[in-house]
Symmetry: C2
Subunit: 683 residues, 2 copies
């Protein structure tokens, strides 16, 4: 018999000596428990999550909030026959622990360990994959239609948070479901604390549902009328009429959740999401309904934090534990108390604060990533110039376009992976009219979160769009200067991309300076540059190697350089800070070097990326035509494009992933050395 | 004095001899009119639109539906100071006529003429650009925030249809507006006829608003109670209570539009959108409100069609005039009654119908483009396997992913330009799990609608995504075979792209045959192929030209061939039907041809496109490494990439646009001939 320590908050249960038969790690085992035991399990799991996340990091608060819902789901429904669709997927830790992955839970988010999100490749209990928000209802609709078409009989359950519900595609799906009237259960995990202040009318409405002010008000008044009429001689018909009005008022007009009801989804709730019994009862009630249902469950993010609050020293450094809004949803592993290095997000958001006084028309927009992007402080200092639109990437971008057209200077801070949600808006609303919207593209490149979050498409997508300027800084100060220059000079859209990592030379930041962002920069010393371009001192041709590095890869190239130099090779390193436009003058100089080997470096997909742009430049149509005779004299060059090859990159620490993908300094050095050797062999 | 012929339906006004002072073509002139004259003007404009569109083609029905709304807006508000944001933009013809463009109205949609959409480059009265749906509220929010930030004082008015409102980003924007509570007026142009049967819960709800069944029901009952209680001696307090309940029921609980009210937008309406006076009054009432307002206007698409109905012969060939659902929103210019050539859309949708019996798990999904994509017939034959999700590209794609995961074979029929709305869903929900969702990408390439609708990004975007197969057929039968093969064999996502044009060899369609879609095909005769690859008969090297044509460009290349042959040149033409994966074997053969000149041809952006993929293949990392020694022996090739250069392409007939962009058969022939000559000069 496995008996857990119940802790202070569980004194009632402890007194009853309720215990758990063993470590519960499957739905079958779970279903054997009593409701009291479920409550105990909830506590046990909560403690396990807290302890484990101290080691692995991860989404603490949302998982503590969803413990009872998850237990209830596995108690009442039958996964994997019934399909559980977890929106965003990062609140699936409890689900993972209960579906055979409890023992591996300490490998969460580690390279080759459990994913921080759901993925059917990891477990049959993960009905789908998710990392982005607001997809679960669409998936549920699709799976319900498939089930009905295939004449199957299982349940489809979408779990979505109040945050996810602000995403347009979730609303599209609810709208469609209300029309289709298929058997889908939506569990709305509603946590007010998860919402920043800019939550939208919908969330405000849900808050009002919880207050149920209107309903109580009208119901009480009708009751009062009835009471007052008690002594009055009324015909049975009149009595019946009054009853009817009451009933209709209750049922039709002020059901909490009238918005959902009006859209064709049956609403029940709100219920207390931390009372296992209430959750189990509510789920049991809707289980056998055949029409679309929404169950409104009110939870508290970070439920069970008390120990953390009581023992603030122990939890020092795990910022989520403070629960101060905006809630730090994600925690980092507890590490020795070293001063935290400034990230590019920090640099970018500080630059916005620094620029605000001199750019009075600048405003900042974020789609629910204020904390991750470091914009919380900006929002506090300039609340009237800060717009967190919730999980609405599309709206964020088009709203910014409207602002730019109307004379503001909007800066959209957005993760590379989430920008994918707004590609049409970037094209249709920003680029066609060539509007000066500035995109601060955070998490451009590889991130530890895995497949769903890799920021690997942005360079390829954005450089294909006419009118766009696509930039990436080599270090902190260049990021500041790019933003400054774009705000001063941009005549059209500008994307400034930076990785999720500590900023290079973060401590060297100074005053803003305008820079020619679309002109590239020699990073080698003058002697070397001379060697390359001064024919009198021309080096042996096989050593003519030029590294064209974009963004974060500049630093990588510079770190690779000493290893390359050791082999007697002296490549030129160029800070190719604009992927679009290319620096034609610089390219002309480079491509006129005889027998030059060019290596392009980018932290993104090679397909269609920066290197690809260089290839297109060389092979441009004009190159083949008489109208531009200069190009004809350029020797056909040897170019290698380094970047991420055509596959989705898993989760794990960024430096591991970079190495895996041949983008660590070591790998780059190896490649360049091999390249030079190979050329020696050929010549 | 200019007196219009009022027509039969206007007999009342005609009898009153109301007349218009002159041709009204500016808001100033409009404001001088009486309400009666406005009604007359509405009739006049309606006739002008009908007559004009017989020549130019265009969106007839939606513009006839919005005549009075537009007149009312210009009567009550002051454009361009007040900002009119027309969703989709194709219902802006009346607005164009009233803002200085009435005389040019016969150039509508013609090359270098008026755009069929709105564009600030065309008029200061076009506050923004639009071609895609559901953007107007986001733009309005952005512009209202800018106005308030800049301490300006004008009004911002978003016009959106009930169709546009199904788009997720419109719901995001309404949600945000409800939170912000800024001064924005949304005019909801609600036309039931514009909606196909799959309209979503929201539209159903709006239909119920119009019926106002609930409200009337409860109100009448309370009235009845009151009446019945008239004779009963009640205290004033009870009477007051009853009054209070009535008032609250009316005001709070059953305001038509409670959904909007609950989301924080004040609702008024519904009003009759074809009664100018009602429109003007309603707009005047909300004009000076400072909170967000939604005015619900009910209109009839195609209002004023009576003449067309009475004289069906005259309007023969203009399918919109039938008004049969699904409504043909767009009309083509009246042309001589020639048999209509089958388009690729026709071929694709017929293939779906033909395949349905042998592929019982195949379902078809469209985001509100059932008619344009030719899927109406499929929907009629297989209603239970057809899903028109309304304007919800994101939901459409993710729903399809859910279906595929659950065992169906979903085919998403979507325009290239609208696929941009769902790029994240394509990546996150389809590609990562490598799900066999088939995308029938209609309108891939240049279309007459202009900048907003050009299908030019899809090749570049899709080929960057891991796991994707990106195909384009050379003719009708190949399209059928590709779809057939994908349904039979696909292990992951497949995109099949075709242009908006008549299908090549549409009459030659026969039985389905499996084809190796990712293997390319020699289109030249065997003798020529022999000449190229049989070294004994090797041609002069300068004549080694290979045209790698993708999709619709195959036909272009074949049409260019005779012109090229005339110059004594005999290029090989290859049907490069897959842009991803590339046919490595074929490429190895081609690139081993000595001194070969390769020309890639695609109807899409060169940036990141098919040609770019060829360049990447040649310069792939492995090419430079010892691990793949075969590649080292390949001579560095001469490649030119033909496609659309880095700019947004205007509106006009497809053949004109193709020629403008160097993609007509003539232009391709010229390019190839010049290329050969240039090589002669160099050698």
């Amino acid at each position: 018999m496995h008996t857990v320590q119940t802790g202070n908050s569980m004194y009632a249960l402890a007194r009853q000596e309720i215990s758990l038969p063993k470590i519960v790690s499957s739905p079958e085992e779970l279903k054997q428990l009593s409701l009291e035991q479920l409550t105990l399990l909830a506590h046990e799991i909560r403690q396990e999550i807290i302890q484990n996340l101290n080691k692995t990091g991860g989404h603490l608060a949302s998982n503590l909030g969803i413990v009872e819902i998850t237990l209830g789901m596995h108690y009442v429904f039958d996964s994997p026959a019934d399909k559980f669709l977890w929106d965003v997927g990062h609140q699936s830790y409890v689900h993972k622990m209960l579906t055979g992955r409890r023992e591996q839970f300490d490998t969460l988010r580690q390279y080759k360990g459990l994913s921080g999100f759901i993925n059917p490749l990891e477990s049959e209990h993960d009905a789908f994959l998710a990392g982005h928000s607001s997809t679960s209802v669409s998936l549920a609709v699709g799976m319900a239609l498939a089930r009905d078409h295939l004449k199957q009989n299982h349940k489809v359950i979408a779990v979505i948070g109040d945050g996810g519900l602000t995403g347009g595609m979730a609303l599209e799906a609810i709208n469609h479901l209300g029309h289709l009237r298929r058997n889908v259960l939506i569990i709305l995990n509603d946590n007010e604390m998860s919402i920043s202040e800019n939550v939208g009318g919908f969330s405000q409405y849900m808050r009002r549902i919880k207050e149920t002010f209107f309903y109580r008000d009208i119901k009480e008044k009708i009751d009062l009328i009835e009471d007052l009429l008690d002594d009055v001689p009324l015909t049975p018909a009149v009595r019946k009429l009054i009853e009817g009005v009451k009933k209709e008022t209750k049922e039709r007009f002020d059901t909490p959740g009238i918005v959902f009801e009006k859209l064709g989804i049956n609403y029940s709730g709100p219920i207390d999401g931390h009372n296992v019994e209430a959750v189990v009862n509510a789920l049991s009630k809707v289980k056998d309904k055949t029409t679309p249902q929404i169950l409104h469950v009110v939870t508290q993010k970070g439920k069970g934090y008390a120990p953390a609050e009581e023992d603030s020293i122990k939890f020092h450094g795990v910022s989520a534990f403070s629960l101060e809004p905006p809630l730090s949803e994600k925690v980092e592993p507890i590490q020795p108390p070293v001063p935290k290095a400034k990230t590019y997000s920090d640099i970018f958001s500080q630059a916005l604060i620094d620029l605000a006084p001199i750019e009075p028309h600048m405003v900042a927009i974020t789609p629910a990533t204020a904390e991750g992007s470091g914009l919380v402080k900006f929002g506090k200092v300039y609340p009237e110039r800060f717009f967190d639109v919730a999980i609405c990437e599309q709206h964020a971008v088009t709203m910014a376009a409207g602002m730019a057209k109307a004379g503001l200077k909007p800066v959209v801070s957005i993760y590379s992976t989430f920008l994918q949600r707004a590609m049409d808006q970037v094209i249709h609303d920003v680029a066609i009219l060539n509007l000066p919207v500035i995109f601060g593209i955070d998490r451009g490149g590889l991130v530890e979160d895995g497949e769903t979050h890799q920021g690997v498409f942005d360079i390829a997508f954005l450089r294909t769009i006419p009118n766009f300027t696509v930039l990436a800084p080599k270090n902190a100060q260049e990021l500041r200067n790019m933003l400054f220059t774009a705000l001063k000079e941009a005549q059209g859209p500008v994307a400034i991309r930076f990785p999720r990592d500590k900023a290079i030379e973060a401590d060297g930041c100074g005053a803003f300076e305008p820079i020619p962002s679309t002109k590239w920069e020699f990073l080698s010393n003058e002697n070397l540059t001379d060697k390359y371009f001064n024919s009198n001192q021309k080096k042996a041709s096989q050593d003519n190697i030029v590294l064209l590095a974009h963004g974060a890869m500049v630093d990588t190239a510079l770190r690779a350089l000493p290893m390359i130099n050791k082999k007697g090779l002296e490549p030129l390193v160029i800070n190719a800070r604009s992927a679009k436009p290319l620096d034609h003058e610089m390219l002309m100089r480079i491509f006129n070097l005889p027998e030059c080997k060019i290596v392009t470096l980018e932290e993104g997909f090679v397909s269609g990326g920066f290197g690809s742009a260089i290839l297109e430049w060389v092979h441009r149509k004009e190159f083949c035509q008489l109208s531009e005779p200069n190009y004809l004299k350029i020797p056909r060059p040897h170019i290698s494009c380094l970047g991420i090859s055509d596959h989705f990159v898993e989760h794990g620490a960024r430096d591991i992933l970079l190495k895996d993908n041949g983008l660590s300094a070591d790998s780059v050095a190896d490649f360049v050395i091999n390249l030079a050797q190979m050329q020696h062999m050929l010549t």
